[in-house]
Structure formats: structure tokens, C-alpha cells
């Protein structure tokens, strides 16, 4: 009898322990879910807040006006076209350089210490704070090459900033191309460049494009390097050439946010809506390309 009651007791203890352990597990799961949805909630709050404040200001007048001291007359025309100029020039510099560098590292480079050094170096460059690129741009492009506060100085700085991103993404895309494809082409006598151009690049294209789009959207959103090279000025004209002064969307948003008046904060919110819309569109494009590429 005694042993049975003892058994019952220990069963009771164990089952109570089990209950406690299971409760802990459930609490832990709830905590993990809670924290994850907290992050999503923050995103929702941010988007709703920006929309409520900015949407009333978002009209044709806002898109077609230059910055102004009077909020009701202010707009983002010069900032929007400045960003367009900036991203176009950045794409012209960074895409060819980045993709060709990736081709070299994946298809041509000998497997030696120097190549390894270049690769480690690129990985480290990807982690350098953007403001340090701004300092580089200020010292080299703005002052040394005397490009002043021009679009081209901004684009060159941005290119250096996004090059590591493009190179790393392109390298991954190129590496994912099966080796058999190259072997088959080599076997029929193609040269290395012919193999790369006709077989490797077409297969790697969706991956490269996705990486390029994400890198360019980073260039659109970056603010600090542009402030460093002195792009925060009153610009009430559209750039007509690469040597013209310019302003850009994030700069204009920064300028409005930094002012104490509430009305300018609402203008900043309207600018943010435009900026986020552009970025979201580019992201959607990247997802679409990735999806089409993965279906093949």
C-alpha cells in the first residue's frame, strides 16, 4: 500500500512538473510570436503614421513645385528629378563595374591568396558605414577632382557604396550556374569569354538583376553620404547635366524633418510616401524577377 501511494505521489510530482514544463514552453512560444508581431506592428504604425500625416499634402502641386519657405508652395520636383539623375548615373557606373568584377572573381581569377584577399576586402567594404564613403567622396571627388557638389560626384560616391553589394549578389548568381553548362561549351571549343557571355551570364541574369535592383534601391534611400558631399542646399532648378548641383528625395525629407514646424513634418511625411512608393515598386520588381527566374 505504502509503495503504491508513494508511486502515486511521484507520478503526481512528475505530472505536475510536466505541466509546468509545458506551460513554460507555451509561454515561450507566445513570447516568440509576440515579439515577431511586435516588429510587424512597428512597421504598420510607421506606415499608418506617415500616411495619415503626409497623404493630404500629396498632390500634383507637391510633385511639381520646388522647395520653398512656405509649406503650401513647397514640393519635391527638384528632389525627385535629382534622385532620378543620381540613380541613373550610379547605375551607369556601378552595374558594369560590379558585374565585371564578379565575372572576374568567379570565372577568371586564379584560386590564390591574392584573389582571396580581394574577396575578403569586398566583404569588409560591404560593412563600412555609409558616412565613411561620404568622407571618401568629399575628399576625392568633391575636393581632389574638384567635381564640387555635382550629380556626378554624388553618383560616383554612391557607386563605391553599392559596388560591394552588386559584386556579392552577382557572384552568388554566377556561382549558382551549373558547372556542366561551362564544360559543355568549353568542350565544343568556346573561349572563356564566349562561355561567359553566351552561357553563364544568361543563366545568372535573374539573380544579377535582383541584386542590382536591391543595390540601387539602397542608393536611392541613402542620405548620409550625400550630406557629406554637400548636397544639402537650396536647389530650385532641375539638373541639366552631370556637373549641375542637385538635391535628392532623402535629403529633402531630412531637411523638412529637421525643421521645428509641424507643417514641414507633414511635408516630410508626404516625401516619405513618395520615397517608399518608389522603393516598394523596385522591391516588387526584384521579387517578380526572382520568381520568374526560379520558375525556369
Amino acid at each position: 500500500m505504502a509503495t503504491e501511494s508513494e508511486n502515486n505521489k511521484s507520478v503526481l510530482v512528475i505530472s505536475r512538473q510536466l505541466q509546468r514544463r509545458q506551460l513554460k514552453a507555451r509561454l515561450f512560444e507566445a513570447m516568440c510570436i509576440g515579439f515577431t508581431f511586435l516588429a510587424i506592428l512597428v512597421l504598420a504604425v510607421l506606415l499608418i503614421d506617415v500616411t495619415i500625416r503626409g497623404l493630404p499634402w500629396l498632390d500634383a502641386q507637391f510633385m511639381n513645385s520646388f522647395p520653398s519657405r512656405f509649406p503650401e508652395k513647397a514640393g519635391i520636383k527638384s528632389a525627385f528629378f535629382g534622385t532620378l539623375w543620381l540613380v541613373t548615373l550610379t547605375a551607369m557606373f556601378a552595374i558594369p563595374t560590379g558585374v565585371l568584377a564578379a565575372i572576374y572573381l568567379e570565372e577568371y581569377a586564379p584560386r590564390n591568396r591574392f584573389t582571396q584577399f580581394i574577396e575578403v576586402n569586398i566583404a569588409n567594404l560591404a560593412g563600412v558605414p555609409s558616412i565613411v564613403y561620404g568622407i571618401l567622396g568629399l575628399a576625392i571627388f568633391v575636393r581632389f577632382f574638384a567635381l564640387e557638389r555635382s550629380v556626378v560626384a554624388g553618383a560616383l560616391t554612391m557607386s563605391l557604396l553599392i559596388l560591394p553589394v552588386i559584386i556579392i549578389a552577382s557572384k552568388e548568381a554566377i556561382r549558382a550556374v551549373p558547372i556542366s553548362l561551362r564544360q559543355a561549351a568549353f568542350a565544343v571549343g568556346a573561349t572563356r569569354w564566349q562561355v561567359t557571355r553566351a552561357h553563364v551570364l544568361p543563366s545568372a541574369l535573374p539573380g544579377i538583376l535582383t541584386g542590382v535592383i536591391l543595390a540601387l534601391s539602397r542608393a536611392i534611400g541613402e542620405t548620409a553620404p550625400l550630406i557629406m558631399i554637400g548636397a544639402l542646399t537650396y536647389v530650385a532648378f532641375l539638373p541639366e547635366g552631370p556637373m549641375d548641383e542637385f538635391t535628392a528625395l532623402p535629403i529633402q525629407i531630412f531637411n523638412w524633418t529637421a525643421r521645428p514646424q509641424e507643417t514641414f513634418h507633414e511635408l516630410a511625411a508626404a516625401g516619405i510616401i513618395v520615397l517608399l512608393a518608389v522603393l516598394l515598386l523596385m522591391n516588387a520588381l526584384a521579387v517578380f524577377i526572382r520568381y520568374r527566374g526560379s520558375r525556369k
Binding site: R21, K24, A25, F28, E29, M31, C32, I33, F35, T36, A39, V42, L43, V45, L46, D49, V50, T97, L100, A101, I103, Y104, L105, Y108, A109, I118, N121, I122, N124, L125, G127, V128, P129, S130, I131, V132, I135, L136, A139, L163, I167, Q194, S217, I220, G221, E222, A224, I227, M228, P250, I253, T257, A258, H265, A269, I272, L275, L276, L280, N283
Partner: protein, 299 residues
């Protein structure tokens, strides 16, 4: 190509290879230029200001008389932001990663991951706007003595900013732990909490640690949110309610004005940027090293 001789083809091929090499070599040139420029201007700076005063001075007033060049207030300002951001991003990021890799169904995962990616893609100036016009007013309702520009809001928003990075890197680390380990633990009767806490997370610890280090490095280099929300007062304090200035925010403040090349103010930019560059570089190298060196390979 048929009209070209073999020799011409070879010549062209060689030329292309050289061109491609130059593109890759540009990254080395970039690094050398960054280090070179920072080193030269910092050296010039140390001709006027002693290394001792710069590293251990407790007052940073290079734009006001009397001028002091002690970088410590900027360093503590940056630290305050980093610690606050880590307090937000580390628990939330790790919990999200555990949720994504251990609990979420593939369907939920496919919805949540892109949302976190959106969070990661939002420009930092937008976070600065959010901190200044939303988080600070909300916090000031609760804590009235908080200043308009304060380290707290900036730290929270930087935490939100690095959260997706923590979550995504930790998720990668957790998912690289093989399922057999989980199955073994479950078959011994462990609960999901015990499997995550005592088996999966410890097995992925090196990856998780690396994620934290890399995220902290990102927080140190963060510029726009701290410039907008944390203020421009170099302040040797650990009180998150006060206005401070980070290293990055100082660099922005100076470049907003017109600084002639060669002036001492111009040189402070590079001296501060050197501290910034060296600290992020050390953390990045440490992070990648830990990730590679201690990466457990399971058969």
C-alpha cells in the same frame, strides 16, 4: 568570330581578362584610399592636438571657444545608442528568429520574412523622422522630463532598424542546425522550449553571436536617425533622457556647414571618422571570423 584569327581571339580574350581584373581591383583601390585619406588627415590633426587629449579628453567643443578636442563624449554618445539599440534588437530579433525557424509554418514564414525585409529596406532618414515625430512625443507623454532630442528615442529606432538583420542572421544560424538534433531531444520528451533553449540555440551560438556583433557594428555606423533624434550636444552622460551627439552625427553636423580644406575643423572629421572606421572594422572582422571559425559542421 570566324573571321578573326586565333591570335586575334587570344589577344582580345587577354584584354578582356585585364579589364575584368581592373574592375575587381577597384575594391582594393577603394579600401586603400579610405585608409590612406583617413590616416593622412588624422595625422595632420595630431600635429595640432595631442593623441592623449583626443582619446581621453572629456570635452568635445571643436566648433566653440574655448576649443576642446576630447572624443570621449562622442564615444559615450555612440555607446549609449548602441547599448539601447542592442537592448531592443537582441531579444526581439532572437525571439523572431526562434519563431521563424522553430515554430512558424512554411506559409507564415513566407509572409513574415518579406515583411522583415521591408523593415530592413526602409531608408534610415525615415526612421529618423519616425523617432523625432512619433516615438519622442509618445515617450515624452510618459516621461515629461525627457528632452526633445534624446538618446532614448534614437536608440529605440536604431534597435528597430538593426532588428531585421539580427532576426535574419540568427534565423540562418538556427536553420543550419540539423533536424536530427531536434528529433533526438523531442524523442527524449523535451518540450519545445527545452529543445530551442538547450539544444538548438546553444548549437547555433556562434552564428547568433556573430549576428549580434555585425548588428552592433551597423548601429555604430548609423547616421541619419541619430542625427535627427539624438541631438547635437556632445555630452558625457549615460542618461538616455538627455540630448547627446554620436560620432556620425558630429560628422554630419560639420559637413552641413562650409568647412575649408585643411582647417582643423575639416581634420576633426577625419579623426572622428577614423575612430568610427576602426571600431566598425574590428567588429566586422570579429563577426565574420566567429561565423567562419566556430561554424559547426554537422554530418
Amino acid at each position: 568570330m570566324s573571321k578573326l584569327t586565333t591570335r586575334q581571339v587570344r589577344w582580345g580574350e587577354g584584354l578582356l581578362e585585364k579589364l575584368f581584373f581592373l574592375c575587381a581591383f577597384l575594391s582594393v583601390i577603394t579600401t586603400v584610399s579610405v585608409i590612406g585619406i583617413l590616416a593622412v588627415e588624422t595625422y595632420n590633426f595630431f600635429q595640432t592636438v595631442s593623441v592623449w587629449e583626443f582619446l581621453f579628453g572629456t570635452r568635445w567643443t571643436p566648433l566653440l571657444e574655448p576649443k576642446h578636442y576630447g572624443v570621449l563624449p562622442l564615444v559615450t554618445g555612440t555607446l549609449l545608442i548602441v547599448v539601447g539599440a542592442a537592448l531592443v534588437a537582441v531579444p526581439v530579433g532572437l525571439a523572431s528568429a526562434v519563431f521563424l525557424s522553430e515554430y512558424a509554418s512554411p506559409r507564415t514564414r513566407n509572409i513574415v520574412k518579406p515583411i522583415l525585409e521591408i523593415l530592413a529596406g526602409i531608408p534610415t532618414v525615415v526612421y529618423g523622422y519616425f523617432a523625432l515625430t512619433f516615438i519622442t512625443p509618445v515617450l515624452r507623454n510618459v516621461i515629461p522630463e525627457m528632452e526633445v532630442f534624446n538618446a532614448g528615442s534614437a536608440a529605440i529606432v536604431v534597435g528597430i532598424m538593426i532588428l531585421p538583420m539580427v532576426a535574419s542572421l540568427c534565423d540562418d544560424a538556427l536553420r543550419s542546425v540539423p533536424d536530427s538534433l531536434r528529433h533526438g531531444a523531442y524523442s527524449l520528451g523535451a518540450t519545445s522550449f527545452e529543445v530551442s533553449g538547450r539544444v538548438v540555440v546553444p548549437a547555433a551560438l556562434s552564428g547568433i553571436f556573430a549576428a549580434f556583433v555585425l548588428a552592433i557594428s551597423r548601429a555604430i555606423g548609423e547616421t541619419m536617425a541619430v542625427t535627427l533624434a539624438a541631438g547635437a550636444t556632445p555630452n558625457l552622460t549615460f542618461n538616455p533622457l538627455e540630448s547627446i551627439q554620436t560620432m556620425t552625427a558630429y560628422i554630419v553636423q560639420v559637413s552641413l556647414g562650409d568647412t575649408p580644406t585643411g582647417s582643423i575643423t575639416y581634420q576633426t572629421l577625419f579623426a572622428v571618422a577614423s575612430v568610427l572606421f576602426v571600431s566598425t572594422l574590428i567588429l566586422n572582422v570579429l563577426g565574420t571570423w566567429v561565423m567562419r571559425r566556430f561554424h559547426e559542421v554537422y554530418e
